[in-house]
């Protein structure tokens, strides 16, 4: 039943991604609107599937690869919907939504069955720590995509040769302002995620900080974003340079999330 809801959400995401792609090529208003409603439907169905799983499992469903990827995708599409309320960024849909769809398909590679929760994770800190961390990471993922787009579009305008991207996607200023917003939401979430994690570690493992690879890498990530904020506010870094740092920051997140789980191991490798 749960998997069926999940598939419905995936279907809606794909539908939405496809219509945004078609909209990008033919720029037809009704197709854009259809894409928007498909995204709304996908988000709510996906949300229902996560809530459903929460009640089925009796704990926050962010405890294995399937659940994590699915929740990560949910955060991304939710944040994208939020951004859509202030910016005219339908054209970004054809970049964000394929990624959301891929994340969900990727999630399906892993076993979807609910297993009993390992004793270490049985804590009220689980939902708090994971939700904040995932939200922060999802926001930075969006800013990662926006930054890549910014760098391509900026290059086009500077080189004056072709305008493939800059003519179709939001203006440089809009992209930069989205980046700024991602920074000002993502960073607090990430910070709270790390602090709550540390407190939880204090309860669960008896030490607030034990230089476990995941902890180390999330600290590195935090430092990268802190530098970014400092440079933006104090020195006035904006545009291209911010975009490069955003990309660096996200690569660090990627390493924290995947590299540590798959390559190094450590206290966090539950999944």
């Amino acid at each position: 039943m749960n998997v069926l809801i999940f598939y419905t959400a995936l279907f809606c995401y794909l539908l939405s991604a496809l219509s945004y792609l078609v909209h990008l090529i033919y720029s037809k208003k009704p197709i854009e609107r259809f894409g928007h409603y498909a995204l709304l439907a996908a988000f709510f169905i996906h949300l229902v599937s996560v809530i459903f799983r929460y009640f089925q499992a009796g704990h926050t469903p962010i405890t294995n690869m399937f659940e994590s990827l699915s929740f990560f995708a949910l955060c991304i599409s939710g944040f994208f919907l939020y951004l859509k309320t202030t910016y005219k960024i339908s054209s970004l849909g054809c970049i964000v939504l394929p990624f959301v769809s891929i994340l969900l398909i990727w999630a399906l590679v892993y076993p979807t069955d609910i297993k009993p929760l390992s004793p270490v994770l049985r804590s009220y800190w689980l939902p708090v720590h994971t939700t904040f961390s995932f939200l922060g990471n999802a926001i930075f993922f969006v800013s990662f995509l926006v930054s890549i787009l910014y760098i391509i579009a900026e290059r086009e305008i500077k080189k004056k040769k072709s305008f493939l991207f800059s003519a179709r996607f939001p203006s440089l200023e809009t992209l930069d302002s989205i980046n700024y917003r991602c920074m000002s939401y993502g960073f607090p979430f990430l910070t709270v995620g790390i602090i709550t994690g540390s407190i939880w570690a204090g309860f669960a493992w008896g030490s607030y900080w034990s230089w476990d690879p995941k902890e180390t890498w999330s600290l590195i990530t935090w430092i990268v974003y802190a530098i970014l904020i400092h440079n933006r506010l104090a020195i006035g870094w904006r545009g291209r340079r911010t975009a490069y740092l955003m990309i660096a920051g996200f690569i660090s997140i990627l390493f924290t999330f995947l590299g540590v789980n798959f390559l190094i191991g450590g206290l966090h490798s539950y999944m």
Binding site: I157, K158, K160, A167, S171, E173, T174, W237, R238, R240
Partner: protein, 429 residues
């Protein structure tokens, strides 16, 4: 009746002749009256800097053409041979095909330019005002507006700008998005500055600064078009404030060099600066483009871009031609039918006029309605009208002794008289 167009355009006549055969807006009513006096039943005059054309409907084409040539010869003092040499005459299908092409911008010097549709609308409005349009021209022009709209929405013919200042605006939109709150500085007070200034105004920019070496000229331009004149010495202060700069002066050397912009960018805290230099020789050092968050386009960059956009438009023009040809075929069919049985055309036209009037009323009332709602209402009214009309048309077609036709005709003419009462009743409800 035959639909005919007689005229000249930028392809057939050089600018000296076009200048000569130009009707100012104030002259057109008189011309329309003269044409009517000479027995031409319906006429409209389109006169722009690239074309002068007279569209008319008549039963005596040759006499009318002779009369028009007569009038032109006497008004403009041009000899008959020259007139023959530079003008063209299209009749029937090729005449309305020509109008469709003109209104869609396919016959323009800059393919796809949008102003021409407005000019065609003006030509029609003036003809309506002078009561020189009738059943045929009304139908033709409404159809034309329809075709032009279809061409705009179904092809990308007008998608990429080709004029220097509209390209500057398009580029700034790619950098800044919304322009209304942006500040712009115009350096120079010449003709190009004026054109650019008008374009910026049209885009809704209201903080426009003008500097010029001779302050008086900046002031004069500001008074004529709008903007805030500033002394030339304050230029670097302004550079730190504005988002966009357009330079077009006759200066021999660079007015703005890289060193100045580096300083300015520090003051601006790296806020993006977009510079357009359309002067020859250039006003801004090309090295400025290498500075972070600064974008500089000079006249050659814009010309290259314009060339590319123009060739894009040419590709789209082929698609547009298909649209036009389809519509020409439809219009021909409609003409044939209306000739065979004028009453059917009369009834359909009458009903359409009522529908349009009512539709206009409701769309004015529903100020907040979006495009889709209006489109739905439009479709709904169309389908109601066509269902109501259909039995009448069928009856007219079957009618051999013209008895029923006469009744239907009266029915629709009577309605004309009652319309006022109906309107009053509407208001009362």
């Amino acid at each position: 009746m035959q639909i005919v167009v007689f005229g000249l355009n930028h392809n057939t006549a050089p600018v000296e002749i076009r200048e000569k055969l130009f009707f100012a807006e104030s002259q057109i009513p008189q011309l329309l009256n003269t044409l009517r006096d000479r027995g031409i039943e319906e006429s409209a005059v389109l006169s722009t800097c690239n074309r002068t054309e007279i569209y008319f409907c008549t039963d005596h084409t040759d006499e009318s053409l002779a009369a028009i040539k007569d009038i032109l010869v006497s008004v403009f003092n041009i000899d008959n041979q020259a007139l023959e040499k530079y003008t063209y005459t299209f009749k029937d299908e090729s005449s309305y095909k020509h109008l469709f092409l003109v209104a869609s911008g396919l016959d323009s010097m800059v393919v796809g330019e949008p102003q021409i549709l407005g000019q065609v609308k003006d030509a029609y409005r003036m003809a309506v005002h002078n009561k020189t349009t009738g059943y045929l021209l009304n139908k033709l022009f409404h159809k034309t507006f329809n075709v032009a709209k279809r061409v705009r929405s179904e092809t990308r013919i007008g998608y990429n700008p080709v004029s220097i200042s509209s390209m500057a605006i398009e580029l700034s939109k790619r950098i800044f998005g919304e322009l209304q709150k942006k500040k712009v500085l115009v350096v120079g007070a010449g003709e190009m500055s004026e054109i650019a200034l008008r374009h910026f105004k049209k885009e809704g920019l209201h903080e426009i600064f003008i500097v010029n070496r001779t302050f008086g000229n900046a002031k004069k331009l500001a008074e004529e078009v709008g903007g805030i004149p500033y002394p030339f010495e304050n230029m670097s202060d302004l550079l730190a404030q504005v988002d966009m700069v357009l330079t077009s002066t006759g200066a021999e050397k660079h007015l703005i060099d890289a060193g100045l912009i580096v300083q300015v960018m520090k003051k601006r805290k790296n806020k993006t600066l977009f510079l357009v230099d359309i002067a020859v020789p250039r006003d801004i050092d090309p090295l400025v483009n290498n500075i972070e968050n600064v974008y500089l386009y000079d006249i050659d960059d814009l010309k290259d871009l314009s060339q590319k956009h123009l060739s894009d438009r040419m590709k789209e023009a082929e698609k547009a031609l298909e649209v036009v040809e389809g519509e020409v075929a439809k219009f021909s069919l409609w003409l044939q039918q209306s000739e065979k049985n004028p009453l059917i055309a009369f009834v359909i036209d009458k009903a359409e006029a009522i529908r349009l009037k009512e539709f206009k009323k409701i769309s004015q009332k529903l100020k907040n309605a979006d495009e889709e709602t209006l489109r739905n209402i439009d479709a709904l009214t169309r389908s109601i009208v066509s269902k109501l009309i259909h039995p009448h048309v069928a009856l007219i077609k079957q009618d051999s002794d013209r008895e029923i036709s006469e009744i239907i005709k009266q029915l629709f003419t009577l309605e004309e008289k009652d319309e006022k009462d109906l309107d009053n009743r509407d208001e009362g409800q």
